[in-house]
Symmetry: C2
Subunit: 124 residues, 2 copies
């Protein structure tokens, strides 16, 4: 992972939804890309870690427990703080970048049908 | 910094070149945007920290000491490893995102005319 990577090209090669792929790393952080279509992300939180969302294409519905939900559009960036229950969904395909600690589990402590280990997030 | 921010709009409000602005944070990391035009970035390194570059608009010439230089285009992402001497430039305006530790000085230990403190990197 010491050479440059083109994110739009990497996204073209991703066919599965809800399956984050690591496309970069910097210090203790992974940069991931993921396609969202539908509502399969379970409510979850990351006890000790913030998680950053950046929308590359499309729109994302962001829900936070006890707060008004909101839409993130292309170019929008938002950080959900540690311990905050959240979930994201989209009724049309949405492409996002995630910035999170290498230790962060993408569905928190919740195991669901979309949960992937870090080994399964390596870009082929 | 707990609400969403739109990066293209934030970029429109930045008029100075070589002046990184913090537009997000996640754990120990700042997300910054900066416009590059010309060759004012001095050769420098970050002794203990990697630094990630992501091109939002335009093209960036990336030079690494002792290696072939290369061009980064829109959508390209590259991490320069800690301790590696590097500099970036562009003959046309280029818009980039930086992902780096909160402790990272943007021109390393080098003080140049473009060097900004973290206080001067806060988005107004």
């Amino acid at each position: 992972m010491n050479s440059k990577i083109n994110i739009p090209i990497a996204l073209k090669n991703i066919t599965n939804h809800f399956s984050p792929k690591i496309i970069g790393e910097v210090n203790d952080v992974y940069i991931k890309i993921v396609k969202i279509l539908g509502e399969k992300v379970p409510w979850h939180n990351h006890k000790n870690e913030d998680e950053l969302f950046y929308v590359i294409k499309g729109s994302l519905l962001f829900e936070i427990e006890g707060k008004d939900s909101f839409i993130m559009n292309k170019g929008d960036l938002f950080t959900v703080r540690k311990g905050i229950n959240h979930r994201v969904s989209s009724d049309k395909e949405c492409e996002i970048m995630l910035i999170e600690n290498k230790t962060t589990a993408h569905t928190g402590d919740v195991k669901s049908e979309i949960t992937k280990s870090i080994a399964h997030q390596i870009l082929e």
